[in-house]
């Protein structure tokens, strides 16, 4: 088990989750055990596409957060800084489309009404920017990547996320599965603002936040790894904040 442990409100299932047993429940807490050194593993099995809403909240509700919850080299902010490598794309919801493209050219697409009709999760997670700020307990609503890939046949091991505006970022496919990643379209109960990636952005909180691509347009499933915008310009190919994987040599 890596940098996160899943707990459930139920003390029995929660105890199982503490030992790394994947849960099928809908009330899942995510927290980092003290002393964890990181890793990529989060394993929360969840039925796909059942039209039910999963609620993911932090474990140990109400626990006071302190610097032991910060990955190395990070500081805490309560703001939500806006970082951007270019102009903010403005995408009308009537023209917005999300695509999943497989290595054989198979293509699944969702219009905005189709996408927002999918089952959603509420996720409360910590986010960690490679520019060293971290923000605790951010609240999102979005569609699990598991749901988007539920009916997709693929042998791919890697994913490139493509954004409106041309941004790209890459992942091992396993890092987007099992309840670790969402396509989020609400923040703090409001529609996601364009400067923060609206209409919809990727949310992959166990990796540095440059991996949570704003203005998501497509997920490209690939047999080979293809480094993205920052990954080709000196930033780490994987980007685990708990292992401080900021740059190529880290």
């Amino acid at each position: 088990m890596g940098g996160y442990v899943l707990t459930a409100d139920n003390p029995i299932t929660g105890a199982l989750a503490e030992h790394g047993v994947a849960m099928g429940g809908y009330h899942i807490g995510i927290h980092r055990p003290s002393g964890s050194t990181g890793g990529s593993g989060v394993a929360a099995a969840r039925p796909h596409g059942e039209g039910r809403m999963a609620v993911i909240t932090r474990g140990f509700g109400g626990r006071r957060r302190d610097n032991t919850d910060l990955p190395p080299g990070q500081y805490r902010t309560d703001d939500f800084p806006v970082l951007s490598a270019g102009p903010t794309p403005r995408i009308g919801l009537d023209e917005w489309e999300l695509a999943v493209v497989t290595e054989t050219g198979g293509r699944s697409t969702w219009s905005w009404p189709e996408f927002t009709a999918l089952p959603t999760d509420e996720a409360t997670v910590d986010i960690h920017c490679v520019t060293r700020w971290s923000k605790f307990d951010t609240s999102w609503r979005g569609v699990s990547v598991d749901t988007l890939l539920a009916d997709v046949e693929t042998a791919a091991e890697y994913v490139v996320a493509h954004s409106y505006g041309g941004y790209t970022t890459n992942f091992p496919l396993e890092d987007l599965l099992d309840g670790q990643a969402w396509v989020a379209y609400e923040f703090d109960g409001e529609p996601l603002a364009p400067v923060h990636g609206g209409p919809a952005r990727l949310l992959v909180p166990h990796l540095y936040f440059w991996k949570s691509a704003k203005w998501l347009r497509a997920l490209e499933l690939r047999l080979d790894d293809q480094p993205g915008f920052w990954e080709t310009a000196g930033y780490h190919n994987y980007g685990d904040p708990w292992r401080e994987q900021r740059h190529w040599a880290d």
């Binding site: 970082l83 490598a85 903010t88 364009p194 310009a233 040599a249």
Partner: protein
């Protein structure tokens, strides 16, 4: 000197003079007089005319005409990386004797 601009798109950028410091630091010459040819629209402009998005993990210079990326500068703990794949030509005045 650089100036900050906030366009209608809410994303602030500064002019290309912001590149002069980090590039001059490693190349050792004044690059504000350099000209870049955008690989996308093939327009040649002074470096200072590029739009630099600096509130990001690195400096991202974009062509003011077509908005494509012409240069990226990233500082790691040990290196400064300059990615010029978006530029066809970097033109500098020859040093005078």
């Amino acid at each position: 000197m650089t100036t900050t601009n906030v366009g209608a798109d809410d994303t602030p950028w500064v002019d290309g003079n912001a590149l002069a410091g980090p590039l001059g630091e490693i190349i050792g010459t004044d690059l504000t007089v350099a000209e870049l040819t955008c690989a996308s629209c093939r327009t040649t402009r002074p470096l200072a005319a590029m739009r630099v998005f600096d509130r990001a993990p690195g400096l991202v210079a974009r062509c003011p005409g077509c908005q494509d990326v012409v240069m990226r500068v990233v500082r790691t703990s040990s290196h400064v990386l300059v990615d010029l794949r978006g530029s066809l030509v970097l033109s500098l005045p020859a040093p005078t004797a």
